[in-house]
Amino acid sequence: MQTRQSNFNEIIMQAIFFLSALISVIAVLAISLFLFMRGIPAISEIGFMDFIFNEKWGPTNTPASYGILSMIVGSIYLTGGAIVIGVPIGLMCAIFLAEFCPDNVYKIVKPAVNLLAGIPSIIYGFFGMQVIVPFVRESFGGNGYSILSASIILGIMILPTIISISESSIRAVPESYAEGSYGIGATKEETVFKVVVPAAKSGILTSIILGIGRAVGETMAVVMVAGNAVMPIDKIEILKPIRTLTTNIVTEMSYASGLHESSLIATGVVLFVFIIILNVSLSVIKSKNQRN
């Protein structure tokens, strides 16, 4: 009786857990299905080449044009900018935290990093609009709403991701590596930079890719500092405004109808493909790491 009861419980609980696992799969499938079912017809109606490789975006013009090349390039630029700013700072911070940081400093820096991760993106946007934009305008010229401002904000936003994952992967390097290095007479700095950090390479790479994922998908903060102008490719400059895939969707979604609306969903499809590529490369890195 007792065992039958516990068997029964087992089956019920198994079913519940399985269902929970299933829900996330269903959610992903439903979202992809929605995106592709609504997006693909729009892309084929606009024409794949006209959609992806055309830099003219004028959905309210007659005849309308729906080219998102400028926004694809915009997203790539901003992500690149975020990496240039965020990765060196994040990586150095992670190395510092894992290897050189005294305990009492660690107690301040680590919670600060965690807090940085919890700040809502609208706050980042507000901070960017009130502080970074005037700063860029006064220091570098232009009107401040620019690739540079957005990159700085995104660079700060990806810091927590890069710092915490890199830090834990540096900490995960076996103690024997460092001991071996000290054993052959290397200094602390040589050990850290030539032995420990290279050994944590795949974890660091993972953190960068996750950071890229955050930067590509960020919307609210970018929409407030990037200026949202659709720029022809040859006029893109670091101090000029830019529109990304995400901000294109968010600024225009509320009123769009008909083909315009579907073209925004199609913009989402392109964004989705970006994210899939990132995730695939992430799992490639992980599986490579496991084989080693």
């Binding site: 609009m129 009130q130 009107n143 022809p232 509320s254 009123y255």
Partner: protein, 292 residues
């Protein structure tokens, strides 16, 4: 240990310096440099203000069945009146446009062709940049919505409209008496109409406390769309309806609104010709000295 403490103090000081640099440089006053590029600020394509302004100022060019918005490349686009104000307030060389009712001392509203943007001038037609505020509904309204619409056209409603610097248009407004109705009215649409709508709702609520309002302001086109598909009872629009929209909806003129052309408070210019404004927005004029 000591070294790291000094290091962290330096780091914190550096960060604060950057923040303060961003804040203070914004407010340091220097002479207005007419050779600087004009920062053109526009609304997103969702906006009724944009639709109306671009049409009135001939920024949208219509010729034999084509319709092209000639907004200059690199113009900033924001999805809300408040963001336009913030952008122009923060940028000495900025120019933007907002509803007359939203003008505050944070920015300066320009005279157009010598006519000050005042209620009298809009009413008399001397100030040419104006557009209607519309409320739209679909099909036959229920008693509650009829009652609310009656209130907006009453003496009380018109008084609120005029108080907000909009121009009431009801020919012979009647006194409104509380109906004691209850229920929910869902309103969506233009961010320019929303402040007026809010005041009207407050006053209506005082008379009929059992009525609740759900209001969402995401742009005229969203409001029109929401009224057409029935997800909201009343749509707010700050532009004229398109033919296909007008066919499906009942149209009520809530008020007439001027669109103010705004510049930074430090900008010495206080009057612009309509042609110059058009030329600034289509990129024919890029520097302030061309309109001095």
């Amino acid at each position: 240990m000591k070294k790291s403490r000094i290091l962290s103090i330096i780091a914190v000081a550096l960060m604060l310096m950057i923040v303060f640099a961003g804040c203070t440089q914004e407010t340091t006053e220097a002479d207005f440099d007419f050779d600087k590029d004009i920062t053109v600020v526009a609304r997103d394509a969702a906006s009724g203000t944009r639709g109306a302004f671009h049409e009135i100022m001939d920024i949208i060019v219509k010729e034999n069945n084509t319709e092209v918005d000639k907004l200059v490349v690199g113009a900033l686009e924001f999805d809300g009146t408040d963001k336009v104000v913030t952008a122009v307030e923060g940028d000495k060389y900025g120019i933007g446009y907002i509803s007359l009712g939203s003008v505050s001392e944070r920015i300066k509203a320009l005279a157009v062709d010598g006519a000050e943007p005042s209620v009298e001038n809009v009413k008399s037609g001397a100030y040419s940049v104006s557009r209607p505020f519309l409320l739209v509904t679909k099909g036959t309204e229920n008693e509650l919505i009829k009652d609310f619409l009656k209130f907006t056209e009453s003496v009380e409603g018109q008084a609120i409209t005029n108080e907000m610097n909009f121009i009431g248009v009801a020919d012979s407004p009647e006194e409104y008496t509380a109906s004691g109705m209850s229920g929910t009215i869902k309103v969506a649409g233009s961010t320019s109409v929303a402040p007026l709508m809010e005041k009207l709702q407050e006053a209506y609520n005082e008379l009929n406390p059992d009525v609740t309002f759900e209001t969402q302001a995401q742009g005229s086109s969203q409001g029109i769309k929401a009224a057409i598909d029935g997800s909201y009872d009343i749509g707010m629009a700050s532009r004229e309806l398109k033919d296909e929209e007008a066919e499906e909806l009942n149209r009520y003129v809530l008020a007439i609104d001027g669109i103010a052309v705004i510049v930074n408070n430090e900008n010495p210019i206080s009057d612009l010709a309509a042609d110059d404004i058009t030329n600034i927005y289509i990129g024919e004029i890029t520097k302030w000295n061309a309109v001095k």
